[in-house]
Structures are given as structure tokens and as C-alpha cells.
Amino acid sequence: MSTPIIEITDLSKFYGKARGIEHVNLEIEEGEIFGFIGPNGAGKSTTIRILMNMIFPTGGKAKIMGMDVIRDTKKIKNQVGYIPSDAGAYSSMDVHEFLSYCIRFYQVKEGEQRIAELSEMFELDLKRKIAELSMGNRKKVSIVQSLLHNPRLLILDEPTTGLDPLMQSIFFELLRSENRKGMTIFFSSHILSEVQMLCKRVAIIKEGKIIQLEDIETLRKKQLKKISVEFDAQVKKEMFSIPGIERVLPGSENSLSFMYSGNINDIVSILSGHNIINLIIEEPSLDEIFMHYYKS
């Protein structure tokens, strides 16, 4: 079996007594598009910042391409691209100056050509001062700088903030295309729909701990179902306080919906004791799955 491109073992980070992340374990294989989901403050950026050696862990280890993220940081970064969630800018530089500055850190042949190609794709005006750019255009600059050196691994921290839907779609297509060429993508976001669109595997982080690590499809296909029922008369919500049923939400008049994890025959058997007008059993959306794991 090949070495995982990212290998995180028992990684913890505390800010004094405050928790950043706690005993995080994660392995990401080369060639994956991996989603890292969690609400703000869950520990996504902390994990990424440790991987990029911006902050130091208080416990555990992290490796990229088999190399230690602290000791071998320079070697690692030669092959890693990074898009920060909210990076500032060298405001006195114009876009071309900034991208040239970035590319000079790498041994890249035909760097100017690469700058021109990517800037054209994202419709970037190379002569504009970075300070004058809108948030969306700054994000485009950030995307371009991350891809200049054709990295083997791309780490994205909330990368779509500020991008309009058209640019998002161009960006996602570019990511898919780079992934087909072999680039591994680590995609951190709290927007589940974009993770769903792009990623094959996902880790859910909650309060600094990984609470679920699954294929997107497996996650969907797990026993978790969304059930909406309409009865011919009013039923008490408390009647559904049984194991496996969660988030019971009353609907209009005699209907309600809930999430159910367990044997589907059991719930059908309970429901059969009532006069049902309508019953819908469906796959929950990723948002609902996420809320299920997050709330539990």
C-alpha cells in the first residue's frame, strides 16, 4: 500500500486551555479530492495551519508525502499549493509583481507562461494593484498563486468565499481537471453543497474532533433516512420519542418529519398503527446528514 499523501496521527493543538483540535487522525490517499467539513471554529483552519507549519501542534504528528510537516517543511512546500480563507495582500504590488514574486520561490520553467495562462482563465488584470482589487478578484489571485508551480497536493481553506457562481464553476472544473492529471486536493469548507459536488471522501470535524470519516456516497446510503408522514388526525410528537428517531419537526396540521437511523421495518411497523395519508421516505441531503452528526 502506498504512503498516504497526508497522514495525521493523534494531532492536538491547545491555545492555553482553549481547545483547537484534539486527537485528530486522518489519512488521505494520493489522487483523492478530500472534503473537510465543519462549522466555523470546529478546527479546520487549525489543522491546515499545522500542516502548513504556521502553527505548532501541542501533541501528535502530521506528515505530508511521508515527510514531517515541521522538519521537512521546505521540501513539502515545494510540492504543495495553498489557498487561504482570508489572506491579505501585498497592497503595494500589482498582480503580476505578486505572482512573479510567488513563482520565484520555485524552480519553475516557463513561469511567465503559467502566470499568463491562469490569469487569462480567471480573467485577471495583471496590471491592477492588488490593493484596488475586489474581494472576489483577490480570491482569484489567491487561486492562481496556488497553482503556479503545478503542485502535487492542493490545500484549500474555504476557497470559494467571494467568488461569483460562474467563477466557482470555472474553479471547480479546473480542480477536477487538475485532479484527473494526478493532483490531490484537500478541500476544507463549511458549505456542504460544494463539498458534495467535488469530493469523494469527507471528514466531519466537530469541536476539534473528527466525528465521521466516510465516502460521500456511503454517508448518503447509511441507514439515515428522512421520513415525512401525514396522518388523518393529529398525533402527539412525544409518540415518536423512540430510539433511532431524531429531530422530529411538526409540519402543517397533521404531518411531521424526522430523521431515522435503524431498521426501516421497525419504523414502518410503528407507523402502521396509524392511519396514514401520505408517507415519504427519502435520502437526506448532505446538510441534513451533517446536522445529524453535528447535533448528536
Binding site: 495551519r49 502548513m52 507549519n53 504556521m54 502553527i55 505548532f56 517543511t73 521546505k74 521540501k75 512546500k77 515545494n78 504543495v80 495553498y82 487561504p84 482570508d86 489572506a87 491579505g88 495582500a89 501585498y90 497592497s91 503595494s92 514574486y101 510567488c102 520565484r104 520561490f105 520555485y106 498563486q145
Partner: protein, 269 residues
């Protein structure tokens, strides 16, 4: 050291360096242009100074009026504030911001994710501090030297001038090291420019206070200014090896600690 980062930082600081060089050079040459007038009116000035309290003159760096009659004495008394105070402010502002600005401008996420080590970042930026402080000192000292050559009424000791310039340079370097050290202690990248300038002025105040207050002479040792001897017209004026060791030792110690701290610093943006 990383050349790409070094060149970018040199370029980034070039304008500021030019402004500081111009201002200090103008101050020095402007003051030295008054030397001839000062000599012509020395009796009137002496009369005026006799009514000023001795402490006030000492605060200005004048312990003996005759010291100011020679061109080098006039230069050292009048220009110490420009070279030693303004130069130190330049050094501390530059050094306290050079690492920290990557944090508060949120550009650290671009710099630290390049194939560059913390050591390379530190030493590239340290080199920028050294070169900027050296260039400022070189140009302003040259301006001082040319001004003295133009207005002098007799020879002056070039050796003494060079020693005075060396003390100024070492003092500026030391404040550069202080600024760098302070910046590595700051968490979550907040600018410390005002505090840095205040620190230079406090040290200068402590030094002058120690000179004018007999009972407070010992507190002068708390200030680096105490170790930068400006009495250039004293025939015995020379480099004090202990003072030299003080400047070099403290600067190296602060740089060494700063390096250790920066290598393990959590950097947030």
C-alpha cells in the same frame, strides 16, 4: 537567506529609507550651516546661555560651551539627536515591523506556505535591517562629514568622527535588535510601532535625566545611550572595549533569542 524575499523587502523599504535619509541629511546639513554664524556670534550666544540653567544645557548635551567652538564638538552636540535618536527610531520601527507586518497585513499565509524555512525568513529580514540601518548611517555620516569639511575653520579629528559614527551605528543596530526581539514576543500580530518609538524616547530621556541629576546618574546605565560616548573632542576619545562588547553582546543576544522564538512561534493572520 532567501534572495527573492530579501530583494522584495529591500524594495519594499526603499522609499521609507530614502525619506529618512533625506530628512536626517537635511537636519544635519541645515544645522552645520549655522556653525559659521554660531562662531561669529559666540559672545552673544555665550551671554544668552549664561542665563539658561546648567541642567537645561546638559539636557541638550552641552556640558561646556567651549566644546561647541570646534566643528566636531558642534557636530556631536547638535547632531546626536538626529543620528542617535532619529536613526534609532528608524531602526526600531523597521525591525519591529519587518516580521510582524506579515501577520497583521495577513500576508504570512502567502510567505509561510512557500518553500522557505523560518530560518531563511528570519535571516533574510535581518539582513534587510542591517543593510538599511547601515545605509542610513553611512549616508547621514557622509552628509555630516561633507558639512564639516565645508564649514570648518580648522582641522578636526577624522578618527574621532569615525568613532562617533561607529557608536551611532552600534546604537542603531542595538535598537534594531530590540525591535526584532519585541516583535517575536507579540502574539496574534498587532503593530507595535508606537510602543517602539516610545521605548527609544524613554531610553533617551533616562540617559539625559541621569546626566542632569547628580543623584540619578546610575539610572543612566539602564539606557543604551549611556554607552555611546559622544564626547568626540576629548583628546582621549577612543573606543571603549567594554562599551563595544555591550553593544555587540546585547545585540547578538537579542537576535539569538528572537531567532529561537520566531522558529517556534505560532503565526496567525
Amino acid at each position: 537567506m532567501n534572495h527573492n524575499l530579501f530583494l522584495k523587502e529591500m524594495k519594499r523599504n526603499a522609499f521609507s529609507l530614502m525619506v529618512w535619509m533625506t530628512i536626517i541629511t537635511l537636519f544635519i546639513s541645515g544645522t552645520m550651516a549655522l556653525y559659521s554664524t554660531f562662531l561669529e556670534n559666540q559672545s552673544k550666544i555665550l551671554g544668552m546661555m549664561s542665563i539658561i540653567p546648567k541642567e537645561a544645557l546638559q539636557f541638550k548635551g552641552i556640558s561646556n560651551f567651549d566644546d561647541m567652538l570646534s566643528v566636531l564638538g558642534f557636530y556631536s552636540v547638535n547632531n546626536v539627536i538626529y543620528m542617535m535618536v532619529l536613526g534609532s527610531i528608524f531602526a526600531i520601527v523597521l525591525s519591529s515591523n519587518i516580521l510582524l507586518k506579515e501577520e497583521y497585513n495577513k500576508t504570512a499565509e502567502y510567505l509561510l506556505t512557500r518553500p522557505i524555512t523560518r530560518s531563511e525568513i528570519f535571516f533574510s529580514k535581518l539582513a534587510v535591517i542591517f543593510i538599511n540601518v547601515f545605509l542610513l548611517n553611512f549616508v547621514t555620516a557622509l552628509a555630516g562629514f561633507i558639512s564639516m569639511e565645508l564649514v570648518k575653520n580648522g582641522p578636526f579629528s577624522i578618527r574621532a568622527f569615525l568613532i562617533l559614527s561607529l557608536y551611532t551605528l552600534l546604537l542603531n543596530f542595538l535598537f534594531g535588535a530590540v525591535g526584532l526581539f519585541m516583535s517575536t514576543l507579540v502574539k496574534r500580530g498587532k503593530p507595535i510601532t508606537t510602543f517602539s518609538i516610545g521605548l527609544v524616547l524613554i531610553f533617551y530621556f533616562i540617559y539625559t535625566l541621569s546626566k542632569i541629576t547628580a543623584g540619578a546618574s546610575r539610572i543612566g546605565y539602564l539606557s543604551p545611550y549611556r554607552f555611546a560616548d559622544t564626547n568626540a573632542i576629548n583628546p582621549a576619545y577612543s573606543i571603549d572595549i567594554w562599551h563595544l562588547a555591550y553593544f555587540i553582546g546585547i545585540s547578538l543576544l537579542l537576535i539569538g533569542i528572537s531567532y529561537r522564538l520566531y522558529k517556534r512561534k505560532d503565526i496567525y493572520t
